[in-house]
Structures are given as structure tokens and as C-alpha cells.
């Protein structure tokens, strides 16, 4: 094994410029760096928690040999996580002499800005979308903008602008895309295989060289905060001002970023983002697609990882309940030792998971539903998109030939201190005919499984009522009663 190189300098590209920094605080955000150290003030702080999108910038990174640009929230993105990437801010868009980019010109011509404070963020989100999908559908635009709040326009003018961008210029003529090869070369050159270490002792940030290096570091520094997407840890800093040092940034570890399928099982590396997982998961387990698209906004999905969503242990994480219903297993690693447990066993109590000192979540294995099995997941929130779960239910059903329930797994989020199975409800269904009568009777069992709380998202009564009604929705959807059971954003034909 080659000797590990250690570099005490963070390197990335900022707009056109190569940046090398020896002074980076472990908890320094990209937004503060841009505004305070570089006077790039087009990127705004609206909320400092990854919800409003005023700070949206693009981060380009090499992924499986390709250069991918994604919108991210600079307010909760740590500078230390950007080694080997290309950061693009709104200042980089306009051409020579201030000639506006097609995205910008469309926003001007269609009156897409009023107060203008959110506008750079919208421009960057639309720019990120336009690179991937120059002529996007209404639904694509709405998804790309889920993480951007505008309080003035009511969005209609922004949507009109978004639809018109392609009439202002071709994506292929875009400077960033035209320079793709050169940027890739520059980024490749930055990837020198070194571990990055900046700072001393506790006040230190580390970017491991690879997964094995991370495993070693994790074992050696069990007190370190491991940061993947920073969509939660970011708030520990910006809102709670917690000391998170030392910090290990694993967002760039390609070894944790594979998502593969083998013998009916999808294996998701802990570093796979929601965006990366979406493609394969929505093909293999279609019900997960629309769920993932309602987690955070696009920027959060581009940063946040399913591994982080699990490791975090939150009772309102959106991926554990469906993965538990699907019978997923979790692989944890300490040094070079691994163990695999049923995912539901990982969640012991509020704030307590079955993760030992020095151990980290390496991957989750998700069995695809067998042929004939029915699977659904429903998320209930105050606002449809970019909202945190009030109650979320996941159901996997196998029927016997005679129409009775052979097996059913039901798991909920938002209903208890951890993601939790509804065993009493399951018991009331197993072996019974899959009929409305059975379902209505089983709905009475929810009170045995859950005693939800009242908080700012919902009252206990609402959580209890809506949760049980989801079983009825699942029943009606699986039996194909014909009329719609849910409201949707799709436009009627």
C-alpha cells in the first residue's frame, strides 16, 4: 500500500479562479466564505438553514468520470467539504460587458423578480436545471424550485421565465458547458489522492483520502463529527452554534457513493445522495421516487444522503420507515470489521442508535418487493413540498392466493420517538381477507402501536387520525377502486 499523502491545503475552483486555502475553520460555511472573505455578495443569506434557497450556488464535481453541476445551499455547506470541486456563483453567469445569461435575461423579460433578494438563488437553481434539461416540463421546474422561496411574485412570473429560457440561447453555447473538458482536467488534477488535514488537535478538519482512510480515522477519532451532506449538521452550527470539531468530511468519498442492484437487492452506499439514489430507486421501487422528491428542496437532495438520514436517527427522517417496511438491512463498519443488522434494530430510542464508538454506517441493503407484492409510502405534511413529516406511513403487502394477507410490514415516522413498526396493526391484518372490513377493524389497532405527540407540525389527534386513514388509502389503492384517493400536482388531462 502506497504511503498516505497528507495535504494541509484545501483546493477547489471558484468561478474561474483556482483557490488554495490553508486557513479554513472546520465549521466555516461556504456562504460566509463567499460573502465575508471574497466579497461575492450576490449569494444571499435568507434563513441559514437550507430552506429558502437565497444562497443557492452550483457545485460541480467529478462523479463516475463525469462532471456534474448541482445546486446546493451555501449557507449550510461547509467549506471543508468542497475539496476538488468547482463552485459557481451568480457572479459567474453574465458574459463579457455584463451581457446577461439566457436564464437571467428571461427572468428580466418575464418580470421574475420583485424585491430581488431571492432572485440570485432562483437564477442558480434554474441554471442548474437548464444545464440538465434545457426545455423542462412544468413539473421539472417546480421540483427544481422546491428549495427556493419567493415572497413577492407568487412564482407565476418565474415559471413563465423558466419556460422561456430555451428561447434565449442554447445550453450547448453555455460557457460552463463549453469549458467542461478544461474544468474536468483541472478538477482531475486537484484529486491527488491525499488526505486533507487543516488545523490542529480538536480544532481540525479532515477530508479522508478514501473509505479505508475514513474507517481508520473514524476508529481513531470517535469524538469527531462525521459530515456527509451537512443538511442537518449545518444547522448545528448556524442555528445552535455547537462546537462540532473535529470534523471528518466524507461527502467526496467515491467509495461510499455506489448504488448497485444484485439479485433483487439494491445496495445504497452511505454517501449516496437523494438525487443520485433517485434514478435507480424510482425504477426498481417506484413508490420511493415521489417520496424522495418531497424530501427537502432540490439543493438539499443534492447534498443530503440516505446514509445520513439513517445515521442521524431522527424519528422524522423520511427514508427509514419505507426501508424498514421493505425489510432493509444496514451494514456498519468499524476499522475493517463489518456487521449487518435489520435496519429497524438500529433505532433504539430517541437520540440513541445501535452504533458503537468508532463505527459508521457504510451501506443499506434494500430488497425490492417481490412480484405481486404491493408497496406504498405516504408522507403527510403541512405544505406539500419541502416540509418535514408530520406523519409518514409505509406499507408492504403480500397476499395469498385466496386473497388473505400473507405478510404485511407497516412502519411509520413522526408517530413515536423512533421510526417504528405497527405490529398490532400488522397482526390484525395477517391471515385475514384483504377487505375493507378487515382494514377498518385493523385501523382500530393504531392506538396500541402509537401514542403520537402534539407539536408545531400537527396535533396528536391529527397524527393518529391521518395515520390510520393511510391504511385505508393503501387498501383502496391496492384494490384499484377506480376513483382517485389522493390529490396530486399533475394536471388533469
Amino acid at each position: 500500500m502506497a504511503k498516505l499523502k497528507i495535504r494541509s491545503e484545501l483546493r477547489f475552483i471558484l468561478n474561474g479562479e483556482d483557490v488554495a486555502l490553508k486557513d479554513v475553520a472546520p465549521d466555516e460555511t461556504l456562504l460566509d466564505f463567499l460573502r465575508l472573505r471574497r466579497s461575492l455578495k450576490g449569494t444571499k443569506e435568507g434563513c441559514a438553514e437550507g430552506d429558502c434557497g437565497a444562497c443557492t450556488v452550483l457545485v460541480g464535481r467529478l462523479s463516475a468520470g463525469r462532471l456534474v453541476y448541482e445546486s446546493v445551499n451555501a449557507c449550510i455547506r461547509f467549506l471543508g467539504s468542497l475539496d476538488g470541486t468547482h463552485v459557481v456563483t451568480v457572479e459567474h453567469l453574465a458574459g463579457e460587458g455584463g451581457h446577461l445569461h439566457p436564464v437571467q435575461q428571461a427572468m428580466v423579460d418575464f418580470h421574475g423578480s420583485q424585491c430581488g433578494f431571492c432572485t440570485p438563488g432562483f437564477v442558480m437553481s434554474l441554471y442548474g436545471l437548464w444545464m440538465k434539461s434545457p426545455d423542462p416540463s412544468n413539473a421539472e421546474i417546480e421540483k427544481a424550485l422546491q428549495g427556493n422561496l419567493c415572497r413577492c411574485t407568487g412564482y407565476e412570473a418565474i415559471m413563465r421565465a423558466a419556460h422561456a429560457i430555451s428561447t434565449y440561447g442554447k445550453a450547448s453555447k453555455d460557457p460552463l458547458l463549453a469549458e467542461r473538458k478544461a474544468i474536468m482536467q483541472r478538477l482531475t488534477a486537484l484529486h491527488d489522492g491525499a488526505r486533507v488535514e487543516i488545523g490542529d488537535g480538536k480544532h481540525r478538519l479532515i477530508v479522508p483520502a478514501d473509505v479505508d482512510d475514513f474507517a481508520k480515522l473514524r476508529d481513531a477519532l470517535p469524538e469527531a463529527t462525521v459530515v456527509a451532506g451537512s443538511t442537518d449538521v449545518g444547522l448545528w452550527v448556524t442555528k445552535h452554534m455547537r462546537d462540532i470539531t473535529p470534523v471528518i468530511f466524507i461527502g467526496g468519498l467515491e467509495g461510499l457513493q455506489s448504488i448497485t442492484e444484485d439479485k433483487g437487492v439494491v445496495t445504497i452506499g452511505a454517501g449516496v445522495t437523494y438525487t443520485e439514489a433517485l434514478g435507480l430507486l424510482s425504477k426498481r421501487i417506484p413508490a420511493l421516487g415521489p417520496l424522495i422528491e418531497r424530501i427537502g428542496g432540490q439543493q438539499v437532495r443534492n447534498m443530503g444522503t440516505i446514509g445520513g438520514n439513517i445515521a442521524n436517527g431522527s424519528p422524522i427522517g423520511d427514508t427509514p420507515p419505507p426501508l424498514i417496511a421493505l425489510g432493509a438491512t444496514l451494514t456498519l463498519r468499524k476499522g475493517s470489521r463489518r456487521r449487518t443488522i435489520p435496519l429497524e434494530k438500529f433505532f433504539i430510542a430517541y437520540g440513541k442508535q445501535d452504533r458503537r464508538p468508532g463505527e459508521f454506517v457504510e451501506s443499506v441493503q434494500v430488497p425490492m418487493p417481490a412480484k405481486g407484492e404491493k408497496f406504498a409510502v405516504y408522507k403527510i405534511t403541512k405544505r406539500r413540498d419541502e416540509d418535514i413529516t408530520a406523519s409518514l406511513g409505509a406499507f408492504k403487502l403480500a397476499l395469498a392466493k385466496d386473497g388473505t394477507v400473507k405478510a404485511i410490514r407497516i412502519a411509520y415516522g413522526g408517530m413515536a420517538a423512533t421510526p417504528k413498526r405497527a405490529f398490532a396493526v400488522e397482526k390484525a391484518l395477517i391471515g385475514k381477507p384483504w377487505t375493507e372490513e378487515t382494514v377498518l377493524a385493523a385501523m382500530e389497532k393504531y392506538a396500541e402501536d402509537f401514542a403520537p405527540l402534539t407539536d408545531m407540525r400537527a396535533t396528536a389527534d391529527y397524527r393518529a387520525l391521518a395515520a390510520r386513514n393511510l391504511l385505508l388509502r393503501f387498501y383502496v389503492e391496492t384494490t384499484g377502486a377506480g376513483t382517485p384517493v389522493q390529490v396530486t400536482r399533475e394536471r388533469a388531462a
Partner: protein, 784 residues
């Protein structure tokens, strides 16, 4: 734009009034070059302030230990109430009940107690958490729902409106319903939070860059707090990242604290609140408890009504008095009440002091009106739209007597009939009503609802002295124009509209008119940019200034060429003087050489209006703006989730100064109103802590919440009844209550589960939870 060569043959100028110019800063917004207060290049040595907030809802401060704060890295100073050199008060009402920093007692959870100043913002924020403050906790009143409006402490004198004899006519009415409605508040959620940068000057001078809607009031507050004359204080604002009323009085605290610190430390000081602090420590739209008692006949015509509008004022008066007043002014919405008694009750609570928010109580009044319409419709078994139309004020020009408001003003300009008729047709209301009934009959879980609601909104500050404005216009020797006025830009396109008025007056292209930052040093004693009045007042003042200069130019040309004044005509970019034409620029050059003054201060005050609050009578509004919206929703009756399928709007902006800007105001106002009434929920816990203090917990609408089909139009036929600026009408606030159509469409969908026999009495915000609970209640009642 500097190389502008005016077209001297043009038939019309570029970008004059009624042209759909883009926002003056649009190109800067999209490229990130528009400068907001936090983007201003800081003077060397600028310090940063942070706030220490109270951690109890009500209590006496037993002790304050700030030693750890002072010892924290980077901290330069810590200010408490005793460090205020002048008056520790920023009450805008004269009630002296709004301390800058709490002194001895805290009255709400999150009230600023001290201000820490450090080398960096991060240091200030971290240091602020190190304070040790002991409180003797006292009982706190958080919610108003269970308070007695008659006996509970009020923060200011309530208003009573009385016309006819409501009591007697309620008693003899054939039908009568009493009810109560809970209506939530709303956080402004301007994307740019509160921020001020104070730069100390010589002697007692200070300049404060502040994101404020009311620079003059901010100036006066700073002067009071510093104990210096107003002339020592300059407040400047180029633009805000949104205001919506939230920066009318609420900007003052940051401005005052930054100024005090800057003068004390002789260094520039910036105070920018974190979003959570902003939402916790600054006021919001008032939530209301509305009691109604209505008498009507079997046809559904209102005979008499009695209202109590109780509002959560919070711990101080702030603007709660006038907000309650405006609720009463709009409790009729577009309907004639033959006999009416209505009163407000601005109730004291141990919560943040609520304040102005787009509509200023007016929308809350209308919610009360529309609830009553719903009640009557269900009682008589008719479509609510029929009841609405049946109760409208008489149309403009009618010789009837159903045209007097509860405050004794005669409605002279009512055009709601025509707007509603046109919208009913363009939205295909009748057909869709039938289709929805058929859909609901065949859909077990998803139910649709439809509602068409009107808006009539009174335009003028009810505080009469606020209805004045000033402007300052300079014409430079090259014919370019510098324009300044007392209004502030918060995204509403005010500067562009006023520039259009000036361009039109001089007949020069719009890019010859320079828009400049609002500053108290150029135009003094201005009113806050509020009450939708920005373009009405400042447009007229700027027009006055331009006309003065134009008059002098005409005098000069007439005299020089020895022709009558009427032979001097301003044409696009040029002036016809007798038989010859010269460019505007040339005329200006010649006038300068002839020593003609090319600068003028303009002024305007709204005519006709008067208001006697004690009597509850007057001509409170110069005119009314009208509009209507028709919304259709789908509701999932298993979870209460919903989507807005379609909204059609027809809105009256008079002869619009700028249709593109006005359409933007209508679309944005509607969505903001919809958000208020649907997903935006303020939630306090048992300790009086606001727990929805950030976008993660407080949910304003997203792009994917807007109606799937959204048709917005302005009336192309209306014009202001009064001689407003180019016969345009104010458009800031009136569209917000169009969002009521969504609340009522939800109510209609809910009603379908009980076959439209029971009024759902759906309260607001109608979150999925409230919708589901209403569905359950109706199902249970129908099963009885």
C-alpha cells in the same frame, strides 16, 4: 445607458406611464449586483451586533450577569437599557410602551434584553448565548381565544362603528346566526431579514443604512434614542429585500441599536438578525377571534349585524389600534349592512407586539364578512355566490340607498358587480359548479370545491397626516433627470412607476430618469411606504416637482421666443416652440444658461379625506380598489391534504401605470393571501415560545403550491373615480384578500361530505389538519 441618444422623431416616449417596463433593478437582481444593506461595503473597522433575547414570556429580571458575554472572544461592548442615551422607547403610537431593550421586566419570550457588539457577527451571536439572566416568572397570557374582550387589558383605545340600530334589527330579523371564528396571524417572511448599518459622523451625526419602509420614522426614533435632534440623523434605503409591512415599525429596533452602538464606540456597527431571531423578536400580522351575530331574511339579505374583532396585539400597542380599525373598515367587504355595530378589541398578550402586514387588518375584516356570507348561504340553502351578489353595495351611478358604509362614507365608485359578472363568465363558474357536483357524487375520498370571492379595499391612510408626500427632481444641464421621493422600494416597483410619471411629464425616455436611494436628507418628514399609497402619493409629488420645472421651461421658451405659453409643447424627447422643434436636452441647456432653476421639490396631499375616530364617521378613504377571485380545490378527505386546481382573478388597478408590475402585485398578493389562510401557521408552545420561527417550521407557499391553472387579468376598462395619478389605483394590498377564494373553496369541498347542508365553519389557517378535522366534524354531525 450612458450613451443614450434620444429619438427626436418618436411618436411616443419609451417607457412612459402605462408601459410595462421591467423593474428598475431587474438586471441587477438577476446578476446579484443589486446592493442590499448587508451588501454595502463596510467601513474599515465595522463591528457587528447581536441580541440577547428573553427566555421567559413574562417576568421580572432578578439579576443579569453579562460577564461571560463581555469576556467572550471578540466582544467590544455590551449594551443594556441603561446604555440608551436618550429615550429607551420606540413606540410608534406615542404610548411609550416599546422599550428598545427590556428594563427590569420582560413581556414576551424573545424580547431583546441586551445587545452585544463584537468584531464579527459570529462572535456576537455566540457571545449573546453566554448571558446568565435570572427571572421571577409571572403569569403569561399567550392566546386570545379564551379572553374576555370586554374585560381583558387592551393596549390602546378600541374603535366602535355604529350605523342604524343593529340591536333592534337583529332581534326582529326573521333569521339569525351567531358564531365565532379563529383566524391566524402571519409572519412577513421577507427574504431579507431586519438589518441596519450605522456609520457615526462628526458631532452628534450618524448615518444609518436601514432596511426600512419608514425612513423618516426610523430617523426620528434614532434621534429620540440618542437624544439628538432629527437633523443629526440621516437614514438611507436604496431597496429592501421585501417588506410587506414588516419593516414599517419593526425596522426601528435594529436601526436604533446599531446607531447607539456606533455613536458609543465611534465605529460603524451593523446589526443583522438571524432568521430565527427575526421571526421571534419582530411583530407579525395579528391573529383574530371574530364574533358575529347576523340577522337576515329568508332570501339571504343581510338586515343587521354585530361584530367583535378581538386581535392579539402582543405586549405593546405598536400599530394594533389602527390595524383593528382597518379590520372594522373592511368587515363589510363589498356588502351593504343596513344596521351595523362593530367593535375592535386590541388585547394585551405576552407575545411579540403584532404590527402592520399587507392589508393592515383589512383582510381580517373581510374574512369576517365572508364567513357571515357562508353562514347565510348554508342557512338558506343557496350558493354563497348568490348571497354575495345579493348583498353588494349599489353599483356606481345607481340611485339607490344601499351605498353607505359602517363608517358613514358613501361608496361612489362601486364596480364589483361588473367585475364579478365578468369573472363568473371567464372562469366558467356555472358549468364548473355543475361538474364539481357530479365529480363529488362519484368520488368517495377526493372532493372538489369552488368559490368566487370579491374584494373591496379602501385606499388612504386612516391617519390623515400620513396622506402627504414629497419629491425632489433635478434636471441636469445635459437633460438627464435625477429623481428622488419619500417612498421606499421593497420590490413593488414603486421607483419605476414614479420614474414613469416623471418621464411622462417631461416627455423623455425612461432611461433619462435616474432612480436614487430614499434618504431623509433629500425629502423630509415622509410617510412610511405603506397602505398601498406609494405610487398614489409619491407619484403625485414627483409629478408636481416635474411640473414646476416644466412650467419654468415653458415660461423661459415663451419669453425667449415671444410666443404664448400654449405654443410650447413637450413632444417625445423634444419641445415644439412655435414653429420650431428643439430637443429637450437643448432646451434645458439654454435654460441653464439663462439661469432658470432646474430643480424642484414637489408635494402632494390627498384631498377630500377626513376621519373622526371618536365618532366613527368620515370620508376615510379617497377611493376603493376592487377585485375578485375564483378558486377550485381538490381535497383528500382521508388526510385533509389539498391542491389548488385553478384560480381566475380579475383585478382593478384603475388605469394601470405599469401592467406588468401590477400583474406581479396581484399574483404575489394572491399567493401571499392564500399562504396566510392555508399553510402558514404560527404556533406557540406552553411557555409562550414561538416554535414556528424559521422556514423549516413555518411554511409559506412554494412554486408547487400555486394554482395549477392561474389566470390573472386586470380590468381594462376601469379608471379611478377620483383624479389620482393618471387615474391609476393602488395595487399593493388589495390583491392579498383574493386568497380568501381558496379558503372558501376548501370550505365548499369540506361541505360536500355533508351534502352542503352544514356550514363547515372552517377556521384559518386551513392546514390539512384543520381541513381533516372539519371533514370529520361534518361527517359526525351529518350522521346525527
Amino acid at each position: 445607458m450612458t450613451k443614450h441618444t434620444p429619438n427626436l422623431k418618436a411618436a411616443r416616449i419609451v417607457g412612459g406611464v402605462h408601459a410595462s417596463n421591467p423593474h428598475d433593478s431587474a438586471h441587477k437582481h438577476v446578476s446579484g449586483t443589486a446592493v442590499y444593506v448587508d451588501d454595502i461595503t463596510e467601513p474599515a473597522g465595522t463591528l457587528h451586533a447581536g441580541l440577547g433575547l428573553a427566555t421567559v414570556a413574562h417576568g421580572k429580571i432578578k439579576s443579569i450577569d453579562l460577564s461571560a458575554v463581555k469576556a467572550a472572544p471578540g466582544v467590544v461592548a455590551v449594551l443594556t437599557a441603561k446604555d440608551v442615551p436618550g429615550d429607551n422607547d420606540i413606540s410608534p403610537s406615542g404610548m411609550h410602551d416599546d422599550p428598545i431593550l427590556a428594563d427590569g421586566e420582560v413581556l414576551f419570550h424573545g424580547q431583546p434584553v441586551f445587545c452585544v457588539v463584537a468584531e464579527t457577527r459570529d462572535q456576537a451571536r455566540r457571545a449573546a448565548r453566554l448571558a446568565k439572566i435570572e427571572y421571577r416568572e409571572l403569569d403569561a397570557v399567550i392566546d386570545i381565544w379564551n379572553l374576555d374582550a370586554e374585560t381583558h387589558k387592551q393596549v390602546t383605545t378600541p374603535l366602535v362603528l355604529d350605523r342604524g340600530d343593529a340591536k333592534a334589527n337583529l332581534e326582529k330579523a326573521p333569521r339569525r346566526i351567531k358564531g365565532r371564528m379563529r383566524l391566524g396571524g402571519q409572519d412577513h417572511f421577507y427574504l431579507e431579514g431586519q438589518v441596519s448599518l450605522a456609520v457615526p459622523g462628526e458631532d452628534d451625526e450618524v448615518t444609518v443604512h436601514c432596511s426600512t419602509q419608514g425612513p423618516s420614522e426610523t430617523q426620528h426614533m434614532i434621534a429620540h434614542a440618542l437624544g439628538v435632534p432629527s437633523h443629526a440623523v440621516t437614514v438611507e434605503v436604496r431597496r429592501m429585500g421585501g417588506g410587506f409591512g414588516g419593516k414599517e415599525t419593526q425596522a426601528n429596533q435594529c436601526a436604533v441599536l446599531a446607531a447607539i452602538a456606533a455613536k458609543k464606540l465611534k465605529r460603524a456597527v451593523k446589526l443583522r438578525l438571524d432568521r430565527d431571531e427575526d421571526m421571534t423578536a419582530t411583530g407579525k400580522r395579528h391573529d383574530f377571534a371574530i364574533d358575529y351575530d347576523v340577522g337576515f331574511d329568508d332570501e339571504g339579505r343581510i338586515l343587521a349585524i354585530d361584530y367583535t374583532f378581538a386581535l392579539r396585539a402582543g405586549f405593546s400597542a405598536d400599530l394594533s389600534g389602527p390595524v383593528g380599525d382597518r379590520a372594522l373598515f373592511h368587515c363589510d367587504n363589498a356588502y351593504f349592512f343596513p344596521h351595523v355595530h362593530a367593535k375592535s378589541a386590541p388585547l394585551f398578550t405576552n407575545t411579540v407586539s403584532n404590527t402592520a402586514f399587507r392589508g393592515f387588518g383589512g383582510p381580517q375584516g373581510m374574512v369576517g364578512a365572508e364567513r357571515v356570507i357562508d353562514e347565510i348561504a348554508f342557512a338558506v340553502g343557496k350558493d354563497p355566490l348568490e348571497i354575495r351578489k345579493f348583498n353588494f353595495y349599489d353599483p356606481m351611478g345607481a340611485k339607490g340607498s344601499r351605498n353607505v358604509t359602517p363608517y358613514h362614507q358613501t361608496v361612489e365608485d362601486c364596480i364589483i358587480q361588473r367585475i364579478v359578472a365578468e369573472l363568473e363568465e371567464s372562469s366558467d363558474y356555472a358549468r364548473r359548479r355543475r361538474e364539481i357536483a357530479a365529480f363529488n357524487a362519484n368520488s368517495r375520498f377526493v372532493k372538489r370545491g369552488l368559490a368566487l370571492t370579491p374584494v373591496k379595499f379602501g385606499i388612504s391612510f386612516t391617519k390623515t397626516e400620513s396622506n402627504q408626500a414629497g419629491a425632489l427632481v433635478h434636471v441636469y444641464t445635459d437633460g438627464s433627470v435625477h429623481m428622488n421621493h419619500g417612498g421606499t422600494e421593497m420590490g413593488q416597483g414603486l421607483h419605476m412607476k414614479v420614474a414613469q410619471v416623471v418621464a411622462e411629464e417631461f416627455q423623455i425616455d425612461i432611461d433619462r430618469v435616474k432612480i436614487t436611494a430614499t434618504t431623509t436628507a433629500k425629502v423630509p418628514n415622509t410617510s412610511p411606504t405603506a397602505a398601498s399609497s406609494g405610487a398614489d402619493l409619491n407619484g403625485m409629488a414627483a409629478q408636481d416637482a416635474a411640473r414646476q420645472i416644466k412650467d419654468r421651461l415653458i415660461d423661459f421658451a415663451a419669453e425667449t421666443h415671444q410666443i404664448p405659453r400654449d405654443q410650447v409643447v413637450f413632444l417625445p424627447n423634444r419641445v415644439r416652440i412655435g414653429n420650431q422643434e428643439i430637443s429637450f436636452n437643448e432646451l434645458v441647456r439654454q435654460a441653464y444658461i439663462a439661469r432658470v432653476q432646474l430643480s424642484a421639490a414637489g408635494f402632494y396631499k390627498t384631498p377630500k379625506i377626513h376621519w373622526d375616530r371618536a365618532k366613527g364617521r368620515g370620508h376615510a378613504f379617497y377611493y376603493f380598489a376592487y377585485g375578485a377571485a375564483c378558486s377550485e380545490v381538490s381535497v383528500d378527505t382521508l388526510t385533509g391534504e389539498y391542491v389548488v386546481e385553478r384560480t381566475d382573478i380579475l383585478h382593478d388597478a384603475g388605469r394601470s401605470l405599469n401592467k406588468a408590475i401590477d400583474i406581479g402585485q396581484v399574483e404575489g398578493g394572491f399567493i401571499q393571501g392564500m399562504g396566510w389562510l392555508t399553510t402558514e401557521e404560527l404556533w406557540w408552545d406552553g411557555k409562550g415560545r414561538l416554535r414556528t420561527h424559521a422556514p423549516s417550521t413555518y411554511k409559506i407557499p412554494l412554486a408547487s403550491d400555486r394554482p395549477k391553472i392561474f389566470n390573472v387579468a386586470l380590468t381594462d376598462w376601469s379608471q379611478a373615480y377620483e383624479p389620482t395619478v393618471h387615474r391609476s389605483k393602488a395595487v399593493g394590498e388589495p390583491p392579498l384578500p383574493l386568497g380568501l377564494s381558496v379558503l372558501h373553496a376548501l370550505s365548499d369541498a369540506v361541505a360536500s361530505v355533508a351534502d352542503h347542508r352544514i356550514c363547515p365553519r372552517l377556521d384559518a389557517p386551513a392546514t390539512p389538519e384543520r381541513v381533516l378535522m372539519a371533514v370529520e366534524r361534518l361527517k359526525a354531525e351529518a350522521a346525527k
